[in-house]
């Protein structure tokens, strides 16, 4: 079969899938079934999805344990918040032509993501010389360093910028809680990350994960690919941070980004299945919704949450999805083949 044709078909199917998903949300919304409570959880799920899929690049595909992902999220959150704040002030002082909040938000996301990527590079170059437990510890340390530095920056606290005060929560951040915009950003991010995994870079890092020495002996520059993945992952953590900063509360606290936050995302990756984008997305949504769904149990909810985690780890140690990937295209073609031409063997595509 023509490879190019299949690829276009797959892309088309994915786009239609995305469209259907957005339409479903739109219908729900216009039927009045989404109040602010649901919207809040929706946005929470969105930035969790970006965080978990980006962390999955490092943990699942590169096979390195990183415990400082919340640090990059913090860099993205603070940078984007300060950028939108500065733009807002400049517009108010009429030193800048007024631009729409949407554009401000996108500029904020881009700045936040680039700043996080830069920190990913700074942390990644020395850290990725190590592996396993040592890498885990060093990333944990870097994550905390980033947080402590932020907490001592006068312009990143209180009212921010020139009138800021170190150690205080940053307040008065622009609100951008349009679910469609955030949903679109999330989908684009996940799409880019899936494309990355399927590209030659993705193949290379999976080779490194499976056997470092073997892949190095075939001529792969392992350090280059490791740092590249780390920076790429940090970039998207920055995007998630930017969404987090503008999620509607108007405040940011450095204590939101402790290593406990990083651990939370690590748990999501492990639960979903290391090396499965589908698993990452499902786990991010499940573990964002679960604590809220259990609110009715009030004081027992954290207990139920932990017991569920233990049960999953006991009976599905590879995570819910292992390394399985859901593919709409495959689902559709399989069905059709079964119905119309059952004798033809299923094409082994790179789903």
């Amino acid at each position: 079969m023509d490879n190019q044709k299949v690829r276009t078909k797959k892309l088309l199917v994915s786009l239609v899938g995305v469209g259907v998903l957005m339409l479903a949300v739109f219908i729900f919304d216009s039927l009045g079934m989404m109040d602010n409570y649901i919207r809040g959880i929706f946005i929470q799920s969105c930035f969790a999805i970006i965080m978990v899929t980006s962390l999955n690049l490092v943990m699942g595909y590169l096979g390195q344990i990183a415990l400082g992902h919340a640090g990059f999220m913090a860099v993205g959150a603070y940078t984007s918040a300060l950028v939108t704040k500065a733009i807002g002030l400049a517009i108010k002082a009429e030193t800048m032509a007024p631009i729409s909040p949407m554009l401000q938000f996108f500029i904020g996301i881009l700045c936040g993501a680039l700043a996080a990527a830069l920190f990913g590079l700074i942390v990644g170059i020395p850290a990725l010389r190590l592996r396993g437990d040592y890498l885990a510890i060093i990333t944990l340390g870097f994550g905390e360093i980033i947080r402590v530095v932020i907490q001592n920056l006068p312009f990143a606290g209180g009212k921010g910028l020139a009138s800021g005060q170190a150690g205080q929560a940053l307040i008065g951040i622009m609100r951008m809680n349009d679910i469609y915009v955030i949903m679109l950003v999330t989908m684009v991010c996940v799409g880019i990350m899936i494309a990355f995994v399927r590209s030659k870079f993705g193949r290379a890092i999976m080779a490194i994960r499976d056997d470092d020495i073997a892949s190095s002996s075939t001529g792969l520059n392992t350090t280059y690919y490791k740092v590249l993945t780390f920076v790429f992952s940090a970039f998207f953590a920055g995007v998630a941070g930017a969404i987090y900063a503008h999620r509607g509360l108007g405040t940011l606290q450095h204590s939101d980004f402790t290593f406990l936050k990083s651990t939370e995302y690590v748990i999501m990756v492990v639960l979903g299945g290391m090396g499965s984008m589908t698993g990452a997305v499902v786990a991010a949504i499940t573990l964002s919704v679960l604590p809220e769904a259990l609110r009715a149990f009030s004081e027992y909810r954290m207990l139920v949450y932990s017991v569920m985690l233990i049960l999953v780890m006991m009976f599905r140690p590879t995570g819910l999805f292992g390394s399985y990937e859901f593919s709409l295209y495959q689902l559709l073609t399989k069905r059709r083949k079964k119905a119309v031409e059952p004798e033809q063997t299923a094409a082994k595509g790179d789903n």
Partner: protein, 379 residues
């Protein structure tokens, strides 16, 4: 047959859900929500505060409710775990369930986020305990039952003047919002009151256990008084004993975070003589309202969780009742209108809310005498 039965059951269920609202009579409850950190490492604060609210609501309903016999119904005591995202979820949930007003949250960090939401949605948010200055800045419909940090820093500086000292030192936690906020406020007040700050030392967090280096520097600077805005869990076991060990004989002044230090003191209670702190109420105040509250709270929940936070939670619920009565309706906008400028007398003092929604009240200063908290003065 089976299908018919299930159909019938379904029909009955639908009918009952339809009928329930129409059966509600004139005594329809006024719905409010409460948010606090009920789990996580700040759970003790959340427990004290919500206990205070619970006690007040029970009393109000026993006395006939509000607006001529309507009880106040708390939809839920929601948990925010001390996390702003969880707090926002709790807030949105309560609003979608028809809350007319929300009491919460306990910490300034979470409350600042809720304040933004309340302002955007026209909801009434009354925090019993969030003292950070920024919480009520630039938002409408946000009130508190406590004073603000800058005021507390001011009072602490006045205590120093009152004690007749001129050379003061500051020990604070630079990484903590509460501690660094109080440090800034005290520094500003000390400058205007003519106090000389001879040493400024800091720790990175309020959870440190060894302050010897900082305290030795302070002793060497010749300070007569140390301003230490920390929490009771580090003041009692670490800071005061280590300062006495380092040879410091002067006074200590702290803020409301010190409340509860009597439970964390080391065996030698005389070390804590000369320690003063600003608080929201004085448990040994002989007035009827304070003693009544202390007796009722101890009877219902025990003495262990009885702190200033409980008193503030108790007052917050009564403030809300007064505002609803003054507005004559449970309409949120009208109650917000009524709360601005309301005069109130409660356990934590008699006060008027200013235009930012913060009480103008005197802070009682507490002194430790051989390990017992004694009322010192209103400043």
């Amino acid at each position: 047959m089976k299908r018919k039965v299930s159909l019938l059951i379904a029909l009955v269920m639908v009918l009952t859900t339809l009928l329930v609202p129409t059966m509600a009579n004139a005594a329809e409850p006024v719905k409010i929500g409460v948010i606090g950190p009920l789990s996580g490492n700040l759970a003790t604060y959340g427990e004290s505060t919500t206990n205070g609210v619970k006690l007040a609501i029970a009393e109000i309903n026993e006395a006939g409710g509000v607006l001529g016999g309507r009880p106040i119904e708390v939809i839920a005591y929601e948990d925010d775990k001390g996390d702003s995202t969880e707090g926002a979820n709790a807030f949105n949930k309560l609003v979608s369930e028809g809350a007319k007003a929300i009491i919460g949250s306990v910490t300034s960090g979470v409350t600042a986020g809720l304040a933004t939401l309340a302002d955007a949605e026209g909801m009434l948010l009354l925090t019993p305990t969030a003292t950070a200055d920024t919480v009520t800045d630039g938002v409408t419909g946000v009130f508190r039952a406590c004073f603000r940090d800058s005021f507390q820093g001011d009072v602490a500086a006045k205590v120093a003047v009152n004690l007749g000292v001129t050379k003061v030192a500051i020990l604070y936690a630079s990484g903590d919002t509460y501690s660094s906020g109080l440090y800034e406020a005290f520094k500003a007040a000390a400058a205007t009151l003519g106090l000389e700050i001879v040493a400024t030392e800091s720790s990175s967090s309020t959870a440190d256990t060894d302050y010897t280096t900082q305290l030795t520097n302070i002793v060497a600077s010749g300070a007569e008084l140390i301003f230490a805005p920390y929490y009771y869990d580090s003041i009692g076991p670490y800071i005061v004993p280590q300062a006495r060990e380092a040879g410091f004989t002067g006074f200590f002044v702290g803020a409301d975070g010190w409340d509860g230090t009597q439970n964390t003191m080391t065996d030698d209670k005389s070390l804590y003589n000369g320690c003063f702190y600003t608080n929201h109420y004085a448990p040994d105040d002989p007035s009827e309202i304070v003693q009544g509250f202390v007796a009722k709270y101890t009877e219902t929940f025990g003495a262990e969780s009885l702190t200033a936070l409980a008193a503030l939670g108790y007052d917050a619920a009564y403030m809300l009742r007064d505002a609803i009565e003054a507005a004559g309706t449970d309409d949120t906008a009208a109650v917000i209108e009524a709360l601005y400028g309301i005069s109130f007398a409660g356990v934590t003092g008699t006060f008027t809310l200013d235009e930012s929604g913060t009480p103008q009240k005197a802070a009682p200063v507490i002194e430790y005498v051989d390990g017992v908290a004694k009322f010192y003065a209103y400043i």
